[in-house]
C-alpha cells in the first residue's frame, strides 16, 4: 500500500516540478477559437470558458499547490521548532505567554482564523504575490498546533540526563538548545512537517474555493476546484472534476505514506 502511495506521489511531484515538460500549453494560453471544448486529442481534459487547456492548468496548478503546501509546512515546522523549543527552554513567563497565544489560536476554528487573517491582507494582489501570501498565511497560522507538540517534546527533554550533564558542564543555554535539544526533537519535527502537508493542501483548496486563495490567472487546486460551483457545468462536462479527483488521490497517498512514516518514527 505504501509503495503504491509513494509511486503516485513520486509521479505527481515529478509532473509538478517540471510542468513545461508535460503540459501541452502554458497555463494562460487562450485558444480563443475553442472555448469550453470537450476532451479531444488536442485538449485531453477540454478547455475552460476562456479557451485555456484544462490539463495544462491542472499540471501547473499541481505545482503551485504541492510546492506551496510543502513550503508552508516547512515554515510552520520552523516556527514551531523555534517557538516551542524556546518556550520550553526558557519557561516562566515566556512559556505562559506562548501557551496563551497558542490557546487563543487553537480556540478558533482553523478556517475562521485563516479567513480573518487573510481578510486583513490585500485581496487584489498580483498572482505571484497571492501565492506568497497564501503560503505565509498557512505557515504562520498553522504553526500553533505543531508548536504545542514541540513544546511538550522539548519540556521532557529539558530534564533529560544529557541536558542536565550539559548544564553541569557549563554549556551555554543557546548552545544546549541548538546543538543538543533541537537534533533530539527531529522525529517530532519530521512527523509534524509530514502531517501538515495534507492539512495545508486541503486548506488551500478551501481558501481557493472561497475566493481567498491563489489569484487568477495562476492556477492552483483551490481555484481550479472553484469551477465545480456550477452544477449544470459539471453535469455537462464531468471531466471538470479532474482537479478534485487528483487532490483527493494525493491527500490519500500522503496520509498513507505519513501514517507508515509515523509508525516507523
Amino acid at each position: 500500500m505504501r509503495s503504491i502511495a509513494l509511486a503516485l506521489l513520486g509521479l505527481v511531484f515529478a509532473a509538478a516540478l517540471i510542468p513545461q515538460a508535460w503540459a501541452p500549453a502554458s497555463y494562460q494560453t487562450q485558444f480563443r477559437d475553442s472555448p469550453n471544448a470537450p476532451p479531444s486529442a488536442r485538449f485531453p481534459l477540454g478547455t475552460d470558458d476562456l479557451g485555456r487547456d484544462r490539463l495544462s492548468r491542472l499540471i501547473y496548478g499541481t505545482r503551485v499547490s504541492l510546492l506551496l503546501s510543502v513550503a508552508a509546512a516547512f515554515l510552520a515546522t520552523l516556527i514551531a521548532a523555534i517557538a516551542g523549543a524556546a518556550a520550553a527552554w526558557l519557561g516562566g513567563w515566556w512559556d505562559r505567554m506562548f501557551l496563551t497565544a497558542t490557546d487563543l489560536s487553537l480556540a478558533l476554528p482553523w478556517l475562521f482564523l485563516l479567513l480573518t487573517v487573510r481578510a486583513t491582507l490585500p485581496l487584489d494582489v498580483a498572482p505571484t504575490t497571492s501565492i506568497f501570501v497564501t503560503f505565509a498565511l498557512l505557515g504562520l497560522v498553522g504553526s500553533a498546533g505543531p508548536a504545542r507538540v514541540v513544546r511538550a517534546g522539548a519540556r521532557s527533554l529539558r530534564s533529560a540526563d544529557f541536558a542536565l550533564q550539559g548544564r553541569a558542564c557549563g554549556t551555554p543555554g543557546l548552545r544546549l538548545l541548538i546543538v543538543h535539544l533541537l537534533p533530539n526533537l527531529k522525529p517530532v519535527l519530521v512527523s509534524q512537517f509530514l502531517l501538515s502537508i495534507p492539512l495545508f493542501i486541503l486548506s488551500e483548496a478551501n481558501l481557493g474555493l472561497l475566493g481567498l486563495g491563489v489569484a487568477e490567472p495562476m492556477p492552483s487546486w483551490g481555484n481550479l476546484i472553484r469551477d465545480l460551483e456550477s452544477y449544470s457545468a459539471v453535469a455537462a462536462n464531468p471531466w471538470m472534476i479532474a482537479p478534485a479527483v487528483l487532490l483527493v488521490m494525493v491527500v490519500i497517498a500522503l496520509q498513507v505514506a505519513v501514517r507508515t512514516q509515523e509508525l516507523t518514527v
Partner: protein, 287 residues
C-alpha cells in the same frame, strides 16, 4: 473544589475571549485599506458627502478607543453595525445563529450516531472495519467545501456535509479507543469469565471510554463550526459561517470581532465542559 475549578475556567475563558477579540480587531484595523468605504467611490457624491462618510468611521481609527467602546457596547447588548450589510450586528446574529446551530447540531448528531455505531460494528465485524477505513480515508481527504458542493448537488440535507466532516474523526478515534480498551486486563478477565459481547461493551468498555469521548465531543464542536464556514458559503446558507465569509471579504470589523468572541467562547466552553466532565469521570473511575 469543583466550584473553584469552574470559576477559574470561566475567568480564563473571559480573558481569552477578550484577548481574542482584541487580536481580531487589531488585525483588521491594521489591514491596508481598512478605512476606505466603497461608497466613497460613488461619483455622484460631492466632497462634503465623501468627507462625512470618511469621518463616520473615525471612531474606529483609534484601536484602543474602539475596542473599549465596543466592549462597553457588548455589555449593554449593542454589538455595533455591520459595514458591509448595513444592519445591526445583533440583528444579524439573531437571524443567523439558529440556522448555523441547527446545521451544526444535526451534523454532530449524524456524525456521532453513525461514527460511534460503525466503530462498534467494526470492532466485531472485519468487513465493516475495512470498508469504513477505506471510506473514511477518502472522506478525510476531501476539502469541506467540496463535500458541501457534493451534498448540495446530490440534493441531500445540508447538515449531512457537516456530519461527513465529523464522522471520520469520530469513527477513527472511537474505533482505536475500543480496540485499546478491549485489550485491557479487566475486559480480558470479563471475557474469560464468559461475559457476553454486549455486556462487555456496555459495562466494561463503555465507561472506560467515556472521559476520552467527552474530550472528542468538545473538539468535534469546534470542527463542526469550522466546517460550517465553507459549507454555508458554497451552499448559500444564510448562517454565521456565510456571515464570517462575507465579513472577511468586506473587512467588516464589528462582525469579525463579535464572531471571534463568539467562536472563542463556544469552543472554549465546549472544551472546558468536556474537560470538567472528563476529570469527574476520571476521578469516579479512580483513574
Amino acid at each position: 473544589m469543583l466550584a473553584g475549578r469552574i470559576l477559574r475556567s470561566l475567568s480564563g475563558l473571559a480573558a481569552t475571549a477578550v484577548v481574542g477579540g482584541l487580536c481580531a480587531a487589531t488585525l483588521v484595523r491594521l489591514a491596508p485599506g481598512f478605512d476606505v468605504d466603497e461608497r466613497e467611490f460613488d461619483s455622484r457624491l460631492n466632497d462634503a458627502s465623501r468627507h462625512a462618510i470618511h469621518e463616520s468611521r473615525s471612531g474606529e481609527r483609534n484601536l484602543g478607543r474602539f475596542y473599549v467602546h465596543y466592549l462597553a457596547g457588548i455589555v449593554r447588548g449593542d454589538f455595533g453595525v455591520s459595514h458591509s450589510l448595513r444592519r445591526p450586528v445583533r440583528e444579524l446574529l439573531a437571524e443567523r445563529s439558529p440556522v448555523t446551530l441547527r446545521l451544526v447540531a444535526w451534523g454532530l448528531a449524524f456524525g456521532w450516531t453513525l461514527g460511534s455505531g460503525l466503530a462498534i460494528a467494526a470492532w466485531r465485524i472485519r468487513a465493516v472495519d475495512l470498508l469504513s477505513g477505506v471510506l473514511f480515508a477518502v472522506l478525510l481527504s476531501v476539502p469541506a467545501a467540496v463535500l458541501g458542493l457534493a451534498v448540495l448537488f446530490a440534493g441531500a440535507g445540508r447538515s449531512l456535509a457537516i456530519g461527513l466532516v465529523v464522522l471520520p474523526k469520530v469513527f477513527t478515534y472511537t474505533r482505536s479507543l475500543i480496540a485499546k480498551a478491549s485489550a485491557s486486563p479487566h475486559v480480558v478477565l470479563a471475557r474469560a469469565k464468559g461475559a457476553g459481547e454486549v455486556r462487555i461493551l456496555a459495562w466494561h468498555i463503555g465507561p472506560a471510554l467515556a472521559p476520552e469521548l467527552f474530550s472528542l465531543a468538545g473538539i468535534s464542536i469546534s470542527l463542526a463550526f469550522g466546517a460550517a464556514i465553507p459549507m454555508e458559503a458554497v451552499c448559500d446558507i444564510p448562517g454565521l459561517g456565510q456571515l464570517a465569509w462575507q465579513a472577511a471579504l468586506g473587512r467588516d470589523l464589528p462582525v469579525l470581532v463579535i464572531l471571534s468572541l463568539l467562536l472563542t467562547v463556544i469552543t472554549m466552553l465546549a472544551n472546558g465542559v468536556a474537560d470538567t466532565v472528563t476529570d469527574r469521570l476520571g476521578m469516579e473511575s479512580g483513574a
